[in-house]
């Protein structure tokens, strides 16, 4: 416990000084200090921080970011998928947009997934709001969120074939949808 408190204060100083440019963001530094493998890559661009997290650590990293006093990312703004295209490997991205209602800072976490193994653990255990966001990503991209409590299609009908926001899904679909 004695070690943790100076760490939190240190982190706070870094957050207040708001370093821009080449130095790693305080969020990435905090994640790396907690567990070196949580940060696979870090991008600072256009005033936003993106941290690429290996899939197996996403729940632990989210939990840490939410509960760490200096970070306090208690609000999950958004989860959305992205398809880089069928020829790309890894093909899918899942972006988590985190926000803190007390410190007002934002952070994007990114998980990269291969097409043949598009599974990622759910973060509904960390923020309950992830439920519908993950259902939407599953519906439109076919990314499976393991251990999700209610992983059903949300926008498209249950018997819909394919995943509409994938790049290889045609804009007008394959055939007119019929309710029969």
């Amino acid at each position: 416990m004695e070690e943790q408190k100076p760490q939190a204060a240190d982190l706070e100083n870094k957050l207040n000084s708001n370093p821009e440019g080449k130095t790693p963001s305080p969020f990435a530094a905090a994640l790396q200090r907690e567990h070196p493998e949580w940060v696979a890559h870090e991008v600072e661009a256009l005033g936003e921080t993106t941290i690429i997290v290996p899939r197996e650590y996403i729940v632990a990293a989210c939990h840490f970011l939410k509960t760490e006093p200096g970070l306090n990312f208690n609000f999950l703004s958004d989860v959305c998928g992205f398809d880089r295209g069928p020829e790309e490997e890894p093909r899918f991205e899942v972006n988590y947009h985190l926000f803190s209602t007390t410190r007002f800072h934002r952070l994007r976490l990114k998980v990269l997934l291969n097409e043949d193994d598009a599974h990622v653990p759910t973060v509904t255990g960390v923020w309950r709001t992830a439920n519908w966001h993950e259902r939407e990503t599953f519906d439109l991209f076919g990314v499976v969120f393991d251990e999700h409590p209610d992983l059903r299609r949300i926008l498209l009908p249950d018997d819909w074939q394919g995943h509409a926001l994938r790049k290889d899904f045609p804009l007008r679909g394959y055939e007119p949808y019929s309710l029969e």
């Binding site: 661009a45 936003e48 609000f75 992205f82 926000f99 934002r106 309950r128 966001h133 926008l155």
Partner: protein, 430 residues
């Protein structure tokens, strides 16, 4: 006598078995053993009914699957997607500037907010500087749009609960705002007024005077709404203590905007992550501590007056100047310049025919829309069309908390709770 604690024992708390419990209480007060056995057993007729999608108080085409025990809601499961038109897919097949008209059709009660979030996301990718006058007009029109959006909410929310008159008064005021927006942009419901790099065009002559006239009349109208609704005993009974969600749960469920502020959390993106120069405006963030439908009602009522304050300040700030950024390869030239200058004509042709390249990158642009945090995620891989556009609609997230808020409520309360969340299905289904 046995009083079995069943999983749905909340029914007893809420008064489903009022008669039985009432007898029990009376007899225990008088110290007389009860003459009737108190039974708290689930009805054999637990029933699932479908509310919507064409139910008038579901604000569009929302279907709720309600599991009912008598009149008490055991479980409410929203079923959405009836309005899904694949807008996010459509963005990927359109140039950046063509995406603006799609945003109008998402939250159709707050189209300028959607325009703003989208163009600001693209402007952030392009690292464009927007002139001061354009920023001020954006704030001015967006705040008027927020009032208009809240007026629709007020009218329909009161209508759902049974107060019909308010609707006409609210829509009378809204009409004045829509006329102003039409004067500026040419569109009442789908203005597409903001363009990447500024505005479509400057506000017309005499606009300030008409806004001023609206501003002078509006506080009186709010007073009218209060006399119509706030003092109404029926409205109070229908809303107080209904649909309670604590601040902690509200944050966990991702509630934002007035729905979150009704739980006592003073969070407003205009303050937390200012944009468009909101840090220079003086306004308050109204919050209410009660966490119920009534609290969310009061927050929106107070918020309309805060927006009124911002419009007054924006009007005072309007200084002559350009309303488009100085970026000839991105912003369309003036009509006159196009007809008289060779380079303007070339730029016009290239922007319309080929679009403009946006450097690769990704942004998430959150704004405070009338219903909460509207976030736009745009990813570019270069070229004139976006690779991905995603809208984090506040209605989508706020609706996902409905099952949590409606547990143990009466069927009639569901209508009040949906109204208090102020959802728009166009934004939920996209």
């Amino acid at each position: 006598m046995s009083h079995v604690q069943s999983p749905r024992s909340k029914a007893a708390d809420i008064g489903h078995w009022t008669l039985d419990l009432g007898l029990l209480e009376m007899s225990s007060v008088a110290n007389i053993p009860p003459q009737f056995e108190v039974v708290d057993r689930p009805l054999d007729t637990q029933m699932t009914i479908s509310m919507g999608p064409q139910h008038p108080s579901t604000h569009g085409v929302l279907r709720l699957e309600l599991v009912l025990d008598g009149e008490m809601v055991v479980k409410a499961t929203p079923d959405i997607g009836y309005l899904h038109t694949g807008m996010e897919k459509l963005f990927e097949y359109r140039k950046y500037q063509q995406g603006i008209v799609i945003t109008d059709r998402m939250d159709y009660l707050n189209p300028l907010g959607n325009n703003l979030a989208y163009v600001m996301a693209v402007e952030k990718l392009l690292e464009l500087e927007i002139p001061e006058r354009a920023q001020t007009i954006r704030v001015l029109t967006c705040e008027m749009q927020r009032i208009a959006s809240h007026l629709v909410w007020l009218g329909t929310h009161a209508l759902d609960i049974g107060a019909m008159t308010v609707f006409f008064y609210a829509f009378r005021e809204r009409e004045k705002i829509l006329n102003l927006i039409e004067a500026a942009s040419g569109g009442r419901l789908t203005p597409s007024y903001f363009r990447i790099g500024g505005l479509m065009m400057d506000i017309p002559a005499g606009f300030e005077r008409r806004v001023q006239q609206f501003l002078d009349e509006f506080p009186k109208a709010v007073k009218e709404f209060h006399t119509l609704v706030s003092g109404n005993r029926i409205f109070q009974k229908r809303t107080q203590g209904v649909g309670v969600i604590t601040a902690e749960d509200a944050i966990d469920w991702g509630l934002s905007g007035p729905s979150l502020r009704g739980s006592g959390v003073a969070l407003d993106i205009r303050r937390a992550n200012p944009y468009c120069g909101y840090e220079n405006y003086d306004f308050e963030i109204p919050t209410e501590p009660d966490c119920d439908v009534w609290a969310r009602y009061m927050v929106r009522m107070r918020e309309m007056l805060e927006s009124h304050k911002i419009v007054i300040q924006a009007l005072a700030r309007l200084k002559p100047g350009p309303v488009k950024a100085d970026a000839p390869k991105i912003v369309l030239p003036d009509r006159e310049a196009m007809k008289t200058h060779m380079d303007a004509l070339i730029h016009h042709f290239l922007i319309v025919a080929e679009g403009f390249d946006v450097p690769a990158g990704e942004v998430y642009m959150p704004i405070e829309a009338s219903k909460g945090e509207l976030g736009v995620y745009v990813q570019s891989t270069g070229g004139p069309k976006p690779a991905r556009v995603h809208f984090r609609g506040p209605s989508f997230v706020n609706l996902s908390a409905l099952p949590h808020m409606s547990h143990g409520a009466m069927v009639a309360d569901i209508v009040a709770i949906i109204g208090s969340l102020d959802i728009v299905l166009g934004e939920i289904d996209r």
